[in-house]
C-alpha cells in the first residue's frame, strides 16, 4: 500500500515519539542484524538515562525496565541468542499493540522489536501513564541528540482504535506483536498484514505454582519466599498472565497441611503489613468463582471467603478450573506426591509454572515426557513477571528477523 505523507498526516493519531512524516517513511528504513551494536548502545543509553532520572526511582516497574536493558544484561542476552545462529536481519517494520494495565510493557515490547533489527511502530493503550511519560521523554531526548540515526526507526503513538488506521499501519508492517485479551488480539487480527507478515500473538494465559511442602517446612527464609510470591501475585492484583492462580503442593498430606498453614499464615501477615485491599467488586467476583468451583469443579473447601486471600481446595484438578479462576487473591489449591495431579491443568491455558523448592528441570522433563500442550516457562518464585525475549514459547528475536542461508 502506498503511504503518502499527506494522507498519514491527516489521520487522528497523536505521537509520543516520532511524527507523521517519520511514520510515512518508516518502511524505507533498512533492517539491522539482531543485537546490532548501535541498538545495544541506544537501549543502554536509555537505561542509563532512566537510572539517573529521579522521578523514575519511585517507580519500581520503570526501574525494572532500566535494569533489564542495562548494557551488561543486553550483552548477556546477545551472547545467549547469537550462539549458533546464522546470519540474520530484522524483517523490516514490526508493529506492537500494548495494553494499559502493565504500564511499562510497551517499553519491553519496543526493545524486543529494536533488538531483532526491525523498525518499530507501537500503538500505546488509550490510557496514558506516568511510566509512559517518563520513558518516552527520555527516549525522545536521546533520539533528538546522539541517536538521531534511530529517529526515523521509532514511532510510538496512540489513536482512538479506529480500524482504518489499524488497517493502514498493519499493511505497512512485516511483523506484529499483539498483547491483550483473546478478544482484543482477535480484534486487531481482523486488520490484515501483508501476506508474508508474521504475528506474535500474546493473548490471555494463566499460570500455576508448584510448592514443595518439605521446602516450606524446612526453610528459615519463609518470609523471603512469601515476599517473592507476593511480587508474583498481589503486586499486579494477580491479574498478570504469569501470576499463579493454581497452587500445587508437592508432599505428603501431613507435610502439606502444616506447610500450608505456615505459608498462607506468612502471606496473610504480609498482606496486612502491605495494607493490600481488594476492591468490593473483586471481592464479590472472587466469592462467585470460589462457589462455582465448589458447585461444578469439585472444590471441597473455601477458606478466607471475603478476604484478600481466598483459597479453594480441589482434590482433583480438571481443565475447567481455569475458566473459573479470578484475580485479586483467589488461589486454587491441590496436592500430590508427584506432578501427576497437576497434569490436567498444564494445558494450552497454562503459561508459567513458578516453583518453590522444586527443581525446574523436573517440571521441564515432565512437560516433555508427557508431551503437554501447555507450560512455556518455568521460573523460580519471585520471577514470574520478569520479561524475557522468549515469551509464551515464542522467540521474539527469531520471529521478527530472518535467516540468510547459503554462502560461507
Amino acid at each position: 500500500m502506498k503511504t503518502d505523507p499527506e494522507s498519514i498526516a491527516s489521520l487522528p493519531i497523536s505521537y509520543m515519539v516520532g511524527d507523521a512524516q517519520i511514520l510515512s517513511a518508516i518502511s524505507e528504513q533498512k533492517p539491522l542484524p539482531p543485537f546490532a551494536e548501535r541498538t545495544i548502545e541506544l537501549l543502554a543509553a536509555l537505561s542509563g538515562a532512566l537510572r539517573k532520572n529521579k522521578r523514575a526511582h519511585a517507580m519500581p516497574d520503570v526501574a525494572a525496565f532500566a535494569f533489564w536493558c542495562r548494557r551488561a544484561a543486553l550483552e548477556n542476552m546477545k551472547g545467549k541468542y547469537c550462539r549458533g545462529k546464522g546470519r540474520r536481519l530484522g524483517r523490516g517494520v514490526c508493529i506492537h499493540f500494548t495494553p494499559s494495565n502493565i504500564p511499562d510493557l510497551f517499553a519491553f515490547s519496543m526493545s524486543a522489536g529494536l533488538l531483532s533489527g526491525c523498525s518499530v511502530i507501537l500503538r500505546l493503550a488509550r490510557k496514558t501513564s506516568v511510566q509512559e511519560d517518563l520513558i518516552c521523554g527520555e527516549l525522545k531526548e536521546l533520539l533528538d541528540t546522539e541517536f538521531s540515526d534511530f529517529k526515523p526507526r521509532i514511532v510510538l503513538c496512540r489513536y482512538g482504535h479506529e480500524k482504518e488506521i489499524t488497517d493502514l499501519l498493519c499493511s505497512m508492517s512485516d511483523a506484529r506483536v499483539l498483547w491483550g485479551s483473546d478478544e482484543s488480539v482477535n480484534d486487531i487480527k481482523r486488520s490484515l498484514l501483508p501476506a508474508r507478515g508474521v504475528d506474535l500473538p500474546f493473548a490471555a494465559r494463566a499460570s500455576a505454582a508448584v510448592i514443595s511442602a518439605k521446602e516450606v517446612l524446612g526453610t528459615d527464609q519463609l518470609d523471603l519466599v512469601a515476599k517473592a510470591f507476593y511480587n508474583d501475585t498481589y503486586l499486579n492484583d494477580q491479574n498478570a498472565c504469569s501470576s499463579p492462580r493454581i497452587v500445587y503442593w508437592m508432599g505428603s498430606e501431613e507435610d502439606t497441611r502444616k506447610a500450608r498453614d505456615l505459608f498462607w499464615g506468612q502471606m496473610e501477615a504480609l498482606l496486612k503489613e502491605r495494607g493490600y485491599q481488594v476492591p468490593a467488586e473483586t471481592a464479590v467476583r472472587k466469592l462467585e468463582s470460589a462457589l462455582i468451583l465448589a458447585a461444578a469443579c469439585g472444590a471441597q473447601k473455601i477458606s478466607g471467603a471475603g478476604t484478600s486471600l481466598v483459597r479453594v481446595q480441589i482434590p482433583k484438578l480438571s481443565p475447567q478450573v481455569w475458566e473459573h479462576t479470578a484475580a485479586g487473591g483467589l488461589f486454587i489449591e491441590s496436592r500430590g506426591q508427584d506432578l501427576a495431579g497437576l497434569d490436567s491443568v498444564l494445558d494450552k491455558t497454562c503459561q508459567t509454572v513458578c516453583t518453590v523448592g522444586v527443581d525446574e528441570q523436573l517440571i521441564a522433563d515432565f512437560v516433555l515426557e508427557h508431551r503437554l500442550s501447555g507450560v512455556d516457562r518455568i521460573v523460580p518464585v519471585g520471577h514470574t513477571l520478569d520479561f524475557a525475549l522468549t515469551w509464551d514459547g515464542i522467540d521474539m528475536i527469531d520471529a521478527m528477523s530472518r535467516t540468510i542461508t547459503g554462502g560461507r
Binding site: 493473548a203 494477580q238 491479574n239 467488586e281 464479590v284
Partner: protein, 355 residues
C-alpha cells in the same frame, strides 16, 4: 407469615428471631433439595446448627444465577424460568419458580405495596412504551417492573410511544379521567427523568399530577452521572407535573416479592418478609449503622430456588432500626448504586466494564 395481614409488624428482637429461624429452615431445605447449593455451602463449612443469627448464614452472589441453574425442585415438578438481563444485556439470571413461590411473591408484593399505596387499585400511568412489555424474549427488569406493579393499578396507560417520544394525547386523556383522585405513576428512574420530566420541561408543558404517587426504581447511577440528586429529581418533577409523593424502591428479579419501598421520610424499608445486611468489602464483616457496605438481601420467600440470601453488587448503608419517623418498625436504609468497579492491574485481561 401467611397469617400476617400487616407486613410491617416486627421489632428488632422478634424480627431477628423470626428471620433466623425462617432462613435456617430455608437453608436446610435448599441444602437438601439443591445439590449444587449443598456443595457450595459445604465448601463454606456451613453448619446451621451452630447459627445463632441470620448474618452467619452463607450468602450467594446474585451474579451466580447467571452462571448456574440453581433449582430446589424435583425433576418433574411444574415450574417456570424467569430470566432477567440486568441493565446492559449481558448474561441473564435464571430463576426457577414454581406455583407456590410465585403465589408467595404475589401475596408479599401486594401486602407490602398496599401498606404504601392503599388497598384499592389505582389508575396506572406507565412512563414507558407499550413495546417494552411486548418483547417477551427480552424480559427485562423494566418489563418485570411494569407487569409486577400492575397488581396495584387499573386502566394501565403508557405515557410513551414506541419511539420513546411522549404520547401527550394519551397522557392528557388519562389525566382528564383520573387526575382528581389518587393515581399511580410508575417508571424506571432514568426513563422518568429523560423522557417525562426533561421532555415536559423542554416543551414547557405543565401537567396536573398533584394527586399522584410516582413510584420509580432501577437505580440512580445514570442520573448521578448527570449530577441529578434525589432532591433535584423530586423538585423538578413537582415543578412540571405537581407530583407531591415521589417514591423509590429497591428490589431485584432474583428476589421478587419481598421488595423494599421508600417511605414518606425517604427511607427504604425492610418488611417482615425481608432482611438487609451491609458488609465491609475487605472481609465481608457486618457494617455498623451508617457505614457504607456491600448490600446483602434476605427474603423468606424463595422456596423453589436457593435465593433466600444474596450478596448484591450494590452498595448502601443502614440508617437505623425500628426508629424511622414514618412509624414502620424494622431496619431502614439507603442505596448508593453499584459497587465501584476498580480496574485491576495485570496484562492479559483488559477488563470490560461489567456494570
Amino acid at each position: 407469615m401467611a397469617g400476617r395481614e400487616f407486613p410491617f409488624s416486627m421489632r428488632k428482637e422478634e424480627k431477628d428471631r423470626y428471620l433466623t429461624s425462617e432462613l435456617v429452615k430455608l437453608t436446610d431445605y435448599h441444602r437438601e433439595h439443591c445439590p449444587a447449593y449443598r456443595k457450595m455451602t459445604d465448601a463454606l463449612g456451613c453448619d446451621t446448627r451452630s447459627v445463632s443469627h441470620y448474618s452467619q448464614l452463607p450468602y450467594l452472589p446474585v451474579s451466580l444465577f447467571k452462571q448456574l441453574r440453581l433449582s430446589s425442585l424435583e425433576g418433574d415438578e411444574d415450574f417456570k424460568t424467569v430470566t432477567s438481563s440486568g441493565t446492559s444485556g449481558q448474561q441473564r439470571s435464571q430463576i426457577i419458580l414454581d406455583a407456590q413461590t410465585r403465589t408467595d411473591q404475589q401475596v408479599a408484593l401486594t401486602r407490602i405495596g398496599s401498606d404504601f399505596l392503599g388497598k384499592n387499585r389505582l389508575p396506572y400511568l406507565v412512563i414507558d412504551c407499550p413495546a417494552t412489555i411486548k418483547k417477551r424474549d427480552h424480559y427485562s427488569a423494566r418489563t418485570a417492573g411494569i407487569l409486577g406493579f400492575s397488581i396495584f393499578g387499573a386502566h394501565r396507560t403508557f405515557a410513551l410511544k414506541d419511539d420513546m417520544s411522549l404520547d401527550l394525547e394519551a397522557v392528557e386523556d388519562f389525566l382528564d379521567k383520573y387526575k382528581d383522585k389518587k393515581f399511580l405513576i410508575f417508571g424506571f428512574t432514568f426513563m422518568v427523568w429523560k423522557y417525562f420530566c426533561r421532555e415536559l420541561e423542554e416543551r414547557q408543558i405543565k401537567l396536573d399530577c398533584s394527586k399522584a404517587v410516582l413510584l420509580h426504581g432501577g437505580g440512580w447511577k445514570k442520573l448521578a452521572d448527570q449530577a441529578v440528586s434525589k432532591e433535584e429529581f423530586a423538585r423538578r418533577l413537582k415543578n412540571v407535573c405537581g407530583v407531591e409523593r415521589v417514591m423509590d424502591y429497591y428490589g431485584m428479579t432474583e428476589q421478587t416479592g419481598s421488595i423494599y419501598f421508600e417511605c414518606e421520610c425517604g427511607h427504604l424499608h425492610c418488611s417482615d418478609y425481608s432482611g438487609i445486611i451491609f458488609r465491609r468489602p475487605e472481609d465481608f464483616s457486618v457494617c455498623d449503622i451508617g457505614e457504607t457496605g456491600i448490600i446483602e438481601v434476605l427474603s423468606v420467600l424463595p422456596k423453589s430456588y436457593p435465593g433466600h440470601i444474596l450478596l448484591t453488587e450494590d452498595q448502601g448503608r443502614l440508617l437505623g432500626v425500628d426508629d424511622c419517623p414514618c412509624g414502620r418498625p424494622g431496619p431502614y436504609f439507603e442505596v448508593f448504586g453499584r459497587i465501584k468497579n476498580a480496574e485491576l492491574r495485570g496484562c492479559s485481561d483488559t477488563y470490560e466494564d461489567r456494570s
